[in-house]
């Protein structure tokens, strides 16, 4: 924060830009949403490391409008750790057998670049709900 520095009009815009992206999450909006599956199976398989690696990457890239959430077991426990990537207006993509390296690759190629990491994909689209 600017502290004791007197603000000028242009400073206001800078603060807004910087802070707003950090707070976009409070509106529940973002360009992409990544769900790390954190059931008991996921956590046991290392989902927390996946989460940490992902948040590190997001911080490093200074990208603020990617929403990271957690959810329970996705049902395919032997493929844990898993994550689902949802880019706005596109069907969700599930990745499995993740490692910190793999999630970094997904972040760069899929979330930032918009290209699925085909060799790691488990499936595209949602399950049918009854």
């Amino acid at each position: 924060m600017a502290g004791t520095k007197k603000l000028r009009i242009q400073d206001l815009a800078k603060i807004r830009e910087k802070t707003k992206s950090l707070m976009a999450i409070r509106e529940g909006e973002g360009r992409a949403r990544v769900t790390v599956h954190m059931g008991t199976c996921g956590i046991a398989a290392g989902a927390r490391e996946i989460m940490e690696a992902l948040l590190d990457e997001i911080g490093r890239a200074k990208i603020q409008d990617v929403i990271v959430t957690t959810s329970g077991c996705a049902g395919l426990c032997n493929k844990e750790p898993m994550a689902t990537v949802e880019i706005k207006n596109q069907p969700p993509v599930k990745y499995g057998d993740l490692t910190p390296e793999k999630i970094k690759k997904i972040f760069v190629q899929h979330i930032l670049g918009g290209q699925m990491v085909a060799e790691l994909v488990l499936g595209v689209g949602s399950e049918t709900m009854y």
Binding site: I9, K20, M23, R26, M38, Q64, V68, T69, T70, G72
Partner: protein
């Protein structure tokens, strides 16, 4: 600031704070740390979320999940399930009355769905103690625009054209007030923010000051530029400690950042603000009394004209507006008068905040577009009357407002409609009453408040409110005469006509509206010596039904005044001279052997 995957927005308005929300915040922070999530999840204290009935409240973003009625004991489970495992906790969610399924998302809850947030746009969203969060959501953008792109005349024109009217009660056009002050030659000129909210049950201004103090501050600096004021005062009553604290923080932050003081935003404009604490007299909310109070004198209204815009604080031109009015100003400047014009009705533009209290399922703070009907507020947002009781009346406009009956539920809420119905917009208190409320008793309550708060300057108000109180009190105690009603009407009218300030001029309203819409209740008290709602204690009595009494002693033990005689297995008897009509015996009895009698038969015995 850093990037967090989740933000927990803990409501820290006065309502939730008194329910322990700071303890919830502490517990959340502790649990999050225990789970090692402190770098992923941020806990933020926000201003009043509005749904006070359900506090303490936590909103989890980005999921939009709304948790309510939280206790410290719920916190570990909540953190583990939702934040660690990603499973929102159903049992902590809101379940609408008469339904079984919880509504997980805040935006789907009826209470929030129908509101239109302009003044309260930052409530439950920003930390009111952090200026950068206010700036993030377009804060001070309007100020930048007003200081660098607009002339004072252009600002006034914009406010004038927007149709904004004072939110403090009377509804005077804000732009007109500003224009009148701007054209005065005398200097210095002053600005005042009237935060002396005194209506029973009202907490609109309090919540705005607590949730978004920078919005009030920004509005005032814009107003200062428009009229050429160099100094402003924020008047807040001392019993609003949280509002005072947050306003002080806001002023300090604004000064440090060059948004108050000399050369604001490098534009060459100077303006500063000071907080004045009020002692809490109701009449201080009247503008000329408030000015006297700021000057260090007794808060007592004076004759007008001259209006404050000509001769106000220390005899200098002064603009005095209510908290909500000031907080609306930045929105109009930022988004344009055309946008504001498009909201509300022909004569009442924009939105209004109401404190929804009394016999209503969803107690809380709501912001709604002008022109919405009372029914939509009471039943749509408010969720109706609890315990399956019937709606009887809604009291609008504070002590000098009026009680409107069920047949007026479809009345649109705007300045003119409310005044025509005998109530007034007031600052926005809305007290809902059910069929167990006695309207004569309500009139008595407000008259007692008014006769206590009357400053005593005008005979009509000082004596009028007192006499009306005595008469109505007599009626509730069974001593009413048939001639009382005409006398009450006459007194109310004289108090209205002959008093100088708004307090006196509206002091007759509680009597006049209850007489207009609930005359039959007065008549029941006077002619039948009966209180239809069973509220007025002198007109009811409790008796033991001998055929049902088993002589179990329960009622005798429950009676606080030892008014019940009887021994085990013998029929009990209530000594009416000792009975205070608290109803404790009726509650204690398991055999329905105690009856509350309200009929005129009582009098014959």
């Amino acid at each position: 600031m850093k990037h967090y995957r989740a933000h927990l927005l803990v409501c820290a308005g006065t309502g939730c704070v008194s329910c322990g929300s700071f303890k919830i915040k502490e517990a959340l922070e502790k649990e999050i740390k225990t789970r090692g999530l402190q770098d992923e999840v941020q806990v933020v204290a926000t201003g009043c979320n509005g749904f006070c009935e359900r506090g303490p409240i936590v909103l989890v973003q980005p999921d939009g999940i709304f948790y309510q009625l939280l206790t410290v004991g719920d916190v570990p489970h909540l953190v583990e399930e939702h934040l660690l495992k990603g499973r929102p906790v159903k049992k902590l969610m809101y379940v609408p009355p008469a339904e079984k399924q919880p509504v997980p998302k805040m935006k789907d809850i009826e209470f929030f769905k129908h509101q239109r947030l302009i003044v309260l746009r930052n409530r439950g969203r920003i930390d009111p103690e952090k200026i950068e969060e206010y700036i993030a959501f377009d804060g001070y953008e309007a100020l930048g625009k007003a200081l660098t792109e607009m002339t004072p005349a252009a600002i006034i024109d914009e406010i004038l054209f927007s149709g904004l009217r004072g939110r403090g009660g009377a509804g005077f056009p804000t732009g007109k007030k500003w224009a009148a002050c701007a054209k005065e030659k005398a200097t210095p000129k002053y600005l005042i923010c009237n935060g002396d909210e005194g209506d029973p049950g009202a907490f609109m201004d309090r919540s705005v000051l607590e949730a978004d103090p920078h919005a009030v501050l920004e509005g005032m600096v814009i107003g200062a530029k428009a009229i050429g004021a160099s100094k402003g005062f924020v008047y807040i009553r001392h019993e609003y400690p949280l509002a005072l604290k947050r306003m002080e923080i806001a002023i300090t932050q604004a000064r440090e950042n060059g948004l108050l003081g000399q050369d604001i935003l490098g534009s060459g404009f100077d303006f500063d603000l000071e907080i004045v604490q009020g002692a809490g007299a109701f009449v201080s909310g009247e503008e000329s009394a408030l000015i006297a109070s700021v000057e260090g004198k007794i808060a007592m209204p004076r004759q007008r004209p001259p209006y404050p815009a000509q001769k106000g604080l220390w005899g200098k031109p002064t603009v005095i507006n209510n908290v909500e009015t000031w907080a609306t100003v930045p929105n109009i400047i930022r988004r344009g008068a055309d946008w504001f014009q498009g909201l509300g009705t022909e004569t009442s533009k924009g939105t209004k905040i109401f404190a929804l209290v009394g016999k209503i399922a969803n107690t809380g703070l709501v912001e709604v577009p002008m022109g919405i009907t009372l029914r939509e507020i009471v039943y749509g947002i408010g969720g109706g009357i609890p315990d399956k009781r019937d709606f009887k009346a809604v009291q609008i406009g504070g002590p000098s407002g009026g009680c409107l009956p069920a047949k007026l539920l479809d009345l649109p809420v705007d300045y003119e409609s409310l005044t025509a119905a005998g109530a007034m917009m007031g600052s926005g208190g809305m007290i809902v009453m059910d069929d167990k409320t006695c309207m004569v008793d309500i009139a008595k309550y407000f008259l007692n408040f008014l006769q206590d708060e009357s400053c005593g300057k005008c005979v009509s108000c000082r004596e009028g409110t007192q006499r009306m109180y005595e008469i109505v009190k007599g009626i509730t105690e069974g001593e009413g005469k048939e001639s009382d009603l005409a006398l009450l009407e006459e007194l109310a009218q004289i108090t209205k006509d002959a008093s100088m300030c708004g307090l006196g001029q509206t002091a007759g309203n509680p009597v006049l509206t209850t007489l207009r819409y609930f005359r039959h209740e007065y008549e029941a008290h006077i002619l039948d010596k009966r209180c239809p709602a069973g509220v007025c204690k002198k007109l009811i009595r409790y008796v033991v039904l001998s055929e049902k009494c088993t002589g179990c002693l329960s009622c005798k033990k429950a009676c606080p005044t030892e008014a019940i005689k009887g021994t085990l297995k013998e029929i009990h008897l209530i000594d009416q001279s000792k009975c205070i009509k608290c109803g404790a015996c009726k509650e204690a009895c398991r055999f329905e052997a105690i009856e509350e009698q309200r009929e005129e038969a009582i009098q014959i015995i």
